[in-house]
């Protein structure tokens, strides 16, 4: 039986008077890909931010291997959780190689850092040819690959991806999703992905959560969600 790696229990996140999360509970098992879906403002990105200590948790708990912890960004990374934020947000004045180096900031050992960098360059060959280029000069797709690659530098057990397809051409989106699937397959990394591109993402995930107004409205396997009609109800109000 797979172990639960990461769990959010009845988490409430408030921004002033706005309840971004209103008692959401989400669990991520070892080695699975989980999608977080829902309309705008449903609280999908806030789930990732709460896990990472970027969103202020009003009540509820975050558990890692069934143990409660208070998320603080730079400490969450040390536990083996990496976050790839929305909009790519690579360090545009640093080169591709420097971005990866910074991605492995907590690794410490230079030899290990180099080994991981070489391994990642093999996974993302497009980055290999651009290793000395300033990342601000890369295309949107390449920046997204770099942002994911940067997250992989800590060899995470859980990778959090916030809208990786945002602003990318359909062909590139397909490439990004294929890379997500490969990372999961090769490294057994659990991946939590927030995505609007429902059809594409459901083809690569093991499970999905549907959020609405800060609450989990439904969860299950992709085929269960597709046949239940819950997606139409949440997204189209049907």
């Amino acid at each position: 039986m797979k172990e639960i790696l990461l769990k959010l229990n009845d988490v409430h996140v408030h921004y002033g008077g706005v309840h971004a999360l209103d008692g959401a509970s989400v669990a991520i098992d070892e080695g699975e890909i989980v999608a977080l879906m829902g309309p705008n403002g449903a609280g999908k990105s806030t789930v990732l931010k709460a896990i990472f200590g970027i969103a202020p948790i009003h009540s509820g708990e975050v558990l890692w291997h069934e143990k409660k912890f208070v998320p603080i960004p730079h400490e969450v990374v040390k536990r083996g959780i990496a976050f790839v934020p929305q909009g790519r947000r690579v360090f545009k004045y640093l080169t591709v190689e420097e971005n990866l180096e910074i991605g492995g900031f907590i690794v410490g050992d230079k030899g290990e850092l180099r080994r991981r960098m070489d391994e990642i360059m093999e996974t993302f060959p497009a980055l290999k040819t651009k290793r000395k280029a300033k990342s601000g000069t890369l295309s949107g797709g390449q920046q997204q690959m770099l942002a994911i690659a940067r997250g992989l530098m800590v060899d995470p057990k859980v990778l959090l991806l916030d809208e990786p397809s945002l602003g990318l051409a359909p062909k590139i989106v397909k490439e990004v999703f294929e890379n997500i699937r490969l990372i999961n397959e090769r490294h057994k990394t659990a991946i939590v992905v927030v995505e609007h591109n429902i059809k594409s993402i459901l083809s690569i995930v093991h499970r999905a959560y549907v959020l609405d107004k800060g609450k989990v409205a439904a969860h299950g396997k992709p085929e269960e969600l597709l046949s239940s009609g819950v997606l139409e109800k949440i997204f189209l109000g049907a």
Partner: protein, 295 residues
């Protein structure tokens, strides 16, 4: 003492380089801090004065039997600790409360005033000499320009510190972490950088460099509690005209300012020096507000 005739141009060049090196020392620390935190740390000038007065206390007030180099190192360390203390006790709590850069700047102005008053209470408001009893006295002549040994040390320190900072920025993980924080502090935290810790170190390093500037100016021209204001103004102008937040920009801007000031007063009274500095600033703000080195 017989002073040989010096052709004015070599001396003007020498004076420009000396002034540039002083402004560079202030601008380097100022830009390092601004680049990382995005606010004008106005206390920077007073921190420089603290470094100078720490050396004054060691060598004159308590007349401790220490080597002048050791005294200067302690002075720079004291300035670094004061800068770090300001970050830890004032700026960091304000940043945690999501204070705007304007609030941080006003807080730094308060810190400037308090430090300046503190120095005046401890050491009086009088102008004091910080001449050394063993070491940097005398002068050299280059193409007719007279440069004191203290001024040689100022130029050497300005260039050496710039080179060290450039090396750190380019080749160390710490330097790259600073660049990452400059670019996007939130994402820097997401990749595992303890940004508070790095910013604390940046304040220490930037303030220690300011301390070095204060100490060297002290040996060159003397010290007074208000010396920080002029240093701050010139360092800030150098930063803005060079490219605020840019290491190389601050360095370049400092020398541009040094040359503009010294050649500007070639045919007019030296009292116009500060006015020239502000004219240069205004011209840059109007024509090239991003500074010489555009990011």
């Amino acid at each position: 003492m017989y002073i040989p005739y010096v052709d004015i141009v070599p001396q003007l060049i020498a004076n420009s380089v000396i002034a540039g090196a002083i402004y560079a020392l202030i601008a380097l620390g100022f830009n390092l801090i601004y680049g990382t935190t995005k606010f004008f740390n106005l206390a920077h000038g007073a921190v420089a004065a603290c470094g100078a007065y720490a050396v004054f206390a060691i060598l004159k007030t308590f007349a401790l039997p220490v080597n002048i180099v050791v005294a200067c190192a302690i002075g720079a360390f004291v300035a670094g600790i004061i800068g770090y203390g300001l970050e830890r006790l004032i700026y960091r709590p304000l940043r945690r409360r999501k204070a705007s850069n304007m609030v941080l700047m006003v807080a730094s102005l308060g810190a400037f005033t308090a430090l300046q008053a503190f120095i005046a209470i401890l050491f009086t408001s009088q102008f004091q000499a910080l001449e050394s009893s063993g070491g940097i006295s005398g002068a050299i002549e280059i193409y007719g320009a007279i440069i004191t040994h203290t001024q040689v040390v100022i130029i050497t320190c300005g260039i050496a510190i710039m080179a060290i900072l450039a090396f750190i920025a380019k080749y160390t993980l710490f330097g790259k972490a600073v660049s990452a924080i400059k670019d996007d502090e939130e994402v820097a935290r997401m990749v595992g950088i303890d940004t508070d810790r790095i910013i604390g170190k940046v304040f220490f390093i930037g303030s220690a460099i300011a301390g070095v500037a204060g100490i060297l100016i002290g040996f060159d021209t003397g010290i007074e509690p208000t010396m920080g204001m002029n240093l701050l103004l010139k360092g800030t102008i150098a930063s803005i005209i060079g490219g605020v937040g840019s290491l190389y920009g601050g360095f370049l801007g400092a020398f541009v300012l040094g040359f503009a000031e010294n050649f500007g007063i070639w045919k007019i009274s030296g009292e116009w020096k500060d006015a020239i500095a502000f004219v240069v600033l205004i011209v840059f703000l109007l024509v090239r507000p991003e500074g010489i080195i555009k990011k």
